[in-house]
């Protein structure tokens, strides 16, 4: 049997005493595995994910434009700075973005009234931003990131890695031919393996955002040529009244540990109440349009099927407790 490299027979890379080292292979006890989680910045949303996003794992946020993916990512960058007692990691973050420009203004808006992050005097010093224009860009970046993770530029270790978005990197370079799809798929696995390795070695949380595509043709069964192969807890996912599914297909779905789906829908409701922002008023027909946002657990190794409504306001993204029809939803100062 082939042993490709003599030392690999005996050792693995592991984080020991905070340092990256080659150590002899030995089993671990599950009781000693890291179990830290990064809070989403809201107790209602945290309940949905049982405390927060886990370290050593890759979590995907999938949704169409405007559903709050980047907003949640920004919120996570700041949450990471908080100490573990407040659901954070006391850590710096790396934000790799493939959509331009980086939303610095939105990030600054999240900072101002932000008491808990004042544990760190200059939060922006601990957030590292890098652009990526292609999958090869991302791979080179991730290789360079090894050095960043091992010797962080700021006083805090880097323990949150965000890729926003993975889909944008693969938009233009690949045709729909079997050969190109295979090439694309190989890149998914290479990228995912690297992200997971870093998540594990540095006890980091990895978040990747993804877009959605319309579901086309085919039935939900073997041999379907459509993209409607059921993946996860829901037979179908909906957003803005359209049936959608996360982009990059079954291959990419095999690369992540947890998939969270964000959606929005515009409900038309009869309104006798006072007007709330984000609702357009159609006085002629006595109806308003209300945007509802939902977060759904599509699959996760540790979480059951569950969903939660949420709102996006200038202060951030917050979950909404399930309420009966009659009671009022909280009226924030200004919805985005």
């Amino acid at each position: 049997m082939l042993d490709p490299h003599p030392t690999s027979f005996l050792s693995q890379r592991r984080l020991e005493n905070g340092k990256d080292a080659m150590v002899p292979i030995k089993p671990e006890s599950p009781l000693n595995l890291p179990t830290q989680k990064l809070s989403l910045g809201c107790p209602v949303l945290d309940r949905l994910v049982r405390g927060g996003l886990p370290v050593g794992s890759v979590t995907e946020l999938a949704g169409e434009s405007g559903t709050g993916k980047s907003q949640i990512c920004l919120q996570l960058l700041l949450a990471a700075l908080r100490p573990p007692s407040l659901g954070g990691l006391s850590a710096a973050s790396l934000y790799i973005h493939s959509e331009f420009p980086f939303p610095l203004r939105r990030l600054r808006r999240l900072l101002t009234p932000f008491a808990p992050s004042s544990v760190v005097p200059t939060p922006l010093d601990h957030i590292f931003v890098r652009p990526a224009h292609s999958p090869d860009d991302l791979l080179s970046l991730l290789t360079a990131v090894d050095a960043l993770l091992a010797r962080p530029p700021s006083a805090l270790p880097v323990r949150l890695l965000v890729v926003d978005s993975i889909a944008a990197l693969f938009r233009s370079e690949f045709d729909n031919t079997p050969a190109d799809l295979k090439r694309r798929s190989s890149l998914f696995f290479k990228i995912a393996a690297k992200l997971k390795e870093q998540a594990r070695r540095f006890e980091a949380v990895v978040v990747v955002t993804n877009q959605v595509v319309d579901v086309v043709g085919g039935s939900e069964s073997y041999g379907s040529s459509g993209n409607a192969i059921r993946v996860g807890n829901y037979g179908s996912l909906w957003s803005s009244g359209r049936r959608v599914c996360p982009a990059l297909g079954l291959s990419w779905a095999n690369c992540i540990n947890t998939r969270i789906f964000l959606s929005r829908s515009d409900d038309i409701v009869r309104n006798e109440r006072a007007l709330v922002d984000e609702e357009s008023d159609d006085r002629v027909h006595g109806t308003v349009v209300r945007t509802r946002r939902k977060m759904e657990m599509v699959f996760a190794p540790h979480l059951p099927e569950a969903s939660c409504e949420f709102v996006i306001v200038s202060e951030g993204v917050f979950g909404v407790e399930a309420q009966s029809e009659k009671s009022e939803t909280p009226s924030p100062t200004s919805q985005i």
Binding site: M1, L2, D3, P4, H5, S8, F9, L10, S11, Q12, R13, I25, P27, E28, S29, P30, L31, L33, T35, R50, P54, G56, S57, V58, P178, R183, S185, S186, L187, F189, K190, A193, K196, E197, A199, R200, R201, E220, Y222, G223, S224, S225, I229, R230, V231, G232, N233, G235, G249, L250, S251, A253, N254, N257, R259, V298, F299, P301, H302, P304
Partner: protein, 269 residues
């Protein structure tokens, strides 16, 4: 005549119907491949088996330990704890009236004891995967209680681009032969969780197990997990001794259990 095969114990999956189509449960001395789409329950089944192998002999189990090789980072301790707790609760419920047995197994029947009996390896590359399998030969000679090895998932690190595809095939074949040897030498079960992919054959895309062509002829049994409407099902795709049949199952907070639907359960195909 009681053959050696009949005396072999099976590891229960936690679901009666699934056990039935498996001929009583997962067999020791055999390699079983379990494939399915993300979210169907492969890791859930892996964790369930790592727990169920530990059910004490007094309660009808193997009283063994487990090796869990995690190649994707899907193993979550909190989930394993839940599954161990569920297994212990249900086992004690079933045997409730046998007081003496309960007292004897008191210490073992704790979720943390169950977690401590899982030898966990997290690997981050295909070379680490081969290294761990090589290491197991020595490890298993010392740890005689191990009755199951689970690899979750077996092909993830092989799905990147390999410059030399022939090398990949050789490595995978070598790995599966080595695993076969381990089952026979140490009389344990090997369960390989695998991903599915779409393959373009005969003019359309078909769902198929990843890298199936290269290596999985070395597996004794192959089980596919799939969605049938809103219900999870499993079917025997390949086996020298088991009939092709399908069975429903569910994933609950306690782990893998019987499906809740009332319709006819095990179906022959």
């Amino acid at each position: 005549m009681l053959s050696e095969e009949q005396m072999q114990k099976r590891i229960t999956t936690g679901c009666d119907d699934l056990d039935t189509i498996l001929g009583g449960g997962i067999h020791c001395k055999e390699v079983t491949e379990v494939g399915g789409v993300p979210g169907i329950g492969k890791t859930q089944l892996g964790i369930q088996l790592a727990v169920n192998v530990q059910i004490p002999v007094e309660y009808g189990g193997l009283g063994g330990k487990a090796v869990y090789i995690d190649t994707e980072g899907s193993f979550m301790v909190e989930r394993a704890y839940q599954v161990a707790e569920g297994c212990i609760m249900d086992t004690l419920d079933k045997f409730g009236h046998h007081r003496k047995v309960i007292l004897d197994c008191q210490e073992q029947m704790q979720p943390n004891s169950f977690l401590a009996n899982i030898f966990y390896f997290r690997i981050c590359s295909y070379t680490e995967q081969i290294a761990v399998i090589n290491y197991l030969q020595k490890f298993l000679a010392e740890q005689k209680d191990v009755k199951i090895i689970i690899i979750d998932s077996v092909t993830f690190h092989f799905r990147q681009d390999f410059d030399d595809l022939a090398l990949r095939t050789r490595v995978l074949c070598g790995m599966s032969l080595k695993l076969m040897e381990l089952t026979k030498t140490y009389n344990l079960a090997v369960v390989l969780l695998n991903q599915v992919t779409t393959k373009f054959t005969e003019g359309s895309f078909q769902l198929t197990l990843a890298l199936g062509d290269s290596w999985s002829h070395a597996c004794t049994n192959r089980v596919i997990l799939y969605w049938n409407g809103n219900e999870r099902h499993a079917y025997i795709d390949k086996s020298p001794s088991l009939r092709s049949a399908s069975a429903p199952f569910s994933v609950t907070s306690k782990g893998i259990r019987n499906a809740t639907s009332q319709c006819k359960r095990v179906r022959m195909m």
